[in-house]
Symmetry: C4
Subunit: 170 residues, 4 copies
């Protein structure tokens, strides 16, 4: 199946945080505070892809307090923190997103974007798996699509644009 | 019309902040504070282009408090924050800059530099529209000129240098 | 001897901090606080290489308080700070890691990853010396292996992956 | 005259801060605090070039408090802040460095490394003028030597290494 067909079916876009919404770097000070760098052009993509009918969620293995929480609040995206086994979590969340809907959510309707081995299990389960250009080999190997842009440098916007185009063409 | 002719006519240079004066990244800490990275070589360009007879303004969709406010204060540039519809705002601001002047300001005398879809409407209205090398396609498509340098990495200085050269040659 | 053979023998991996776990940059504020940028994909490599039977230690010439302390705590790695002569320190640490073990640790079983002249002496002593792609010439010249990735941008993960692969193949 | 001959004569190395010891970027927070990114490999070069018999000074147009002050303190380098006219300042400083010395300091024995138009005047006066690879054209045009590395990314270390090699060869 072509990646555009996969994109057309997507109703939920799940984005890993570090390495996807960021470039994987973490700025650390002498008191241990952690800062990461998000991207405003990615941020512009979130409301756009929602207008195209795709829900968005962030997932991270990191536990609060994290910069991701504040980013998620600002963009009004639901964040799932502290997720150690992303494949297990994915199956639970698909069930949860199906409750009270006319049509239950299927794994084939989920896009998952990840950048590392910890994402590979979840990526193998979904209808459309995506890795940024600079992802670890383990994530690129299981991805249906690898973006031209790197994590934190517009890779998420590229996905949002693709999903909207696919729906418009569908 | 050649982009140098367009540059020659410019009396007001409007700069979008994120992605133009910065590379679009935003550093976020666990308390939600936002930091962005400006460029001193761009900063050197602002007084230079003013000496060449071009006024400068910053515009952003972000609401205070923002790093852009402090940057604007330091460079003594007027900042228009929280602007959601930049095309609407542009028309109002051109009227305002015309009040009490010998010659009213025309849209043909305005340069607008933007990097994303939210800038495209305003870019389509002005005499000289500019995008940094790494702008979103939607901004590059409507730009009369795309700089060689990227946003936050000297793209603004490149514009300031061009405007001064064009005036010197004119 | 091939670098894969060298990698197979490794029981202890010593990582210099600045330029190896970071890209060598240090962000400084007006109060003199120092921040550095680590990499989550490198961070993922640390527990993985330990699962492959390799111990990990960090070493730095910088004195506490440093961001490296907090990073080491988070990754549960032992950090040796304020080390001025790394070759001297290396010989002492190899003796210490040998105490109470069935088989004493040999220098041939140590991998040392460094990026600058201050590391070159220690690198000349170990069984497997590694430099990131963007290391200073003095470190690259004595390295048995130079990673494809740069310091702070995945070079450490590349080493962790190599050590695990070498052990699996061994 | 060959740049190596120029390098051999150097007794004082003057380094501009922004764009030379940094990449010209300035991180700004909502309270207006300014952070910049220095480089540890550049930092390693400072004591080395002093051991080779070259004095080092930093100069900046920025006024205290600046990150440059704290960097200069840490590296025990004299910083001249708030210097608006660098050519004027250069002539005064050469006189000052000549006081009480067996042999007065000559402009031909000064190296000046700058990255922008504000440095060009001083660069035209010294025996050895240097610009980083990514300097503004106005600085590269008057430089006797342009480093392979960019400002804040090892350009200063490259200069320190060159000065020591030139003295060793001299």
């Amino acid at each position: 199946m072509d990646f555009r067909e996969r994109a057309q079916a997507v109703r939920l876009l799940i984005l890993d945080v570090d390495g996807v919404l960021t470039d994987g770097r973490v700025w650390v000070g002498p008191d241990g505070q952690e800062w990461v760098a998000f991207n405003r052009r990615d941020g512009e993509g979130i409301p756009r892809v929602r207008q195209c009918g795709v829900e968005v969620a962030f997932v991270t293995g990191e536990s609060p307090p994290t910069p991701a929480e504040r980013r998620a609040e600002k963009l009004r995206v639901r964040l799932f923190p502290g997720v150690k086994d992303k494949a297990d979590w994915l199956e639970a969340i698909v069930r949860e997103y199906s409750v009270g809907r006319l049509r239950p959510l299927a794994l084939a309707e989920v896009a998952y974007m990840g950048d590392d081995e910890a994402d590979a299990g979840a990526m193998a389960l979904v209808g459309f798996s995506i890795a940024p250009a600079d992802a670890h080999l383990s994530a690129r190997q299981v991805a249906h699509w690898v973006t031209a842009k790197r994590g934190g440098r517009g890779a998420v916007r590229e996905v949002c644009d693709l999903l909207c185009e696919a729906r418009a063409a569908g």
